[in-house]
């Protein structure tokens, strides 16, 4: 079945530094979504990418969808303490009709002031 892999599992970042988390799917995706989960919280939708090669920006966050629609990345510039949390990518397979999301294992981000 479809698998979504995400690396790294943990990311320790100094405040002000940049980092990137990567997501890879074993199958071609219809779209990929990114969610952020704060400690003790629930996943909160950040963005959806649909088109091959699509790049979207939200302030300091840049999201990219690969040309083959099997991988994605999230790049955060000038990390702030508010960026702490776990970032999950979640992919929807092109063969899925009901919107089921397969989540990656997440990248847990810790920011050091």
């Amino acid at each position: 079945g479809q698998q979504v892999m995400q690396i790294p599992q943990y990311q320790h970042v100094q405040e002000g530094e940049d980092f990137t988390t990567y997501c890879n799917s074993s199958t071609t995706l219809s779209n990929i979504q990114w969610y952020k989960q704060r400690p003790g919280g629930h996943p909160v939708f950040l963005i959806q990418l649909v088109k091959s090669g699509e790049v979207k920006k939200q302030k300091r966050l840049t999201f990219q969808f690969g040309e083959a629609k099997k991988n994605s990345s999230l790049h955060i510039t000038a990390t702030q303490t508010t960026d702490v949390g776990t970032y999950f990518c979640a992919g929807r397979s092109i063969t899925d009709s009901w919107g089921k999301l397969q989540f990656g294992a997440g990248t847990q981000v810790v920011v050091t002031p």
Binding site: H42, F45, Q48, W98, G99, K100, F103, G104
Partner: protein, 116 residues
Amino acid sequence: EPEVTQTPSHQVTQMGQEVILRCVPISNHLYFYWYRQILGQKVEFLVSFYNNEISEKSEIFDDQFSVERPDGSNFTLKIRSTKLEDSAMYFCASRRLAADTSYEQYFGPGTRLTVT
């Protein structure tokens, strides 16, 4: 802003007991989902529900699990005979009928189920 709500926030039950987790999806949403997250692990899909029937379910969603939309607002997950390994955070999610390609799901705050 409309949001998905879930009750209770924490449920403690003994092994073998039945539990019902309740969710109120966003009112104009038509697709409903249950996910679970074992502590420290990733979010796992359990089941999707549309038009009053299950549209898809995972291997985790065995005969011990069932879902129901008893009225126009609630969406429930029942576990008939809980096992220790059912201990997890259970998230309900919903999404609207997408006229475009937007499949954004809105997650509830979760119910933490502890089976002792």
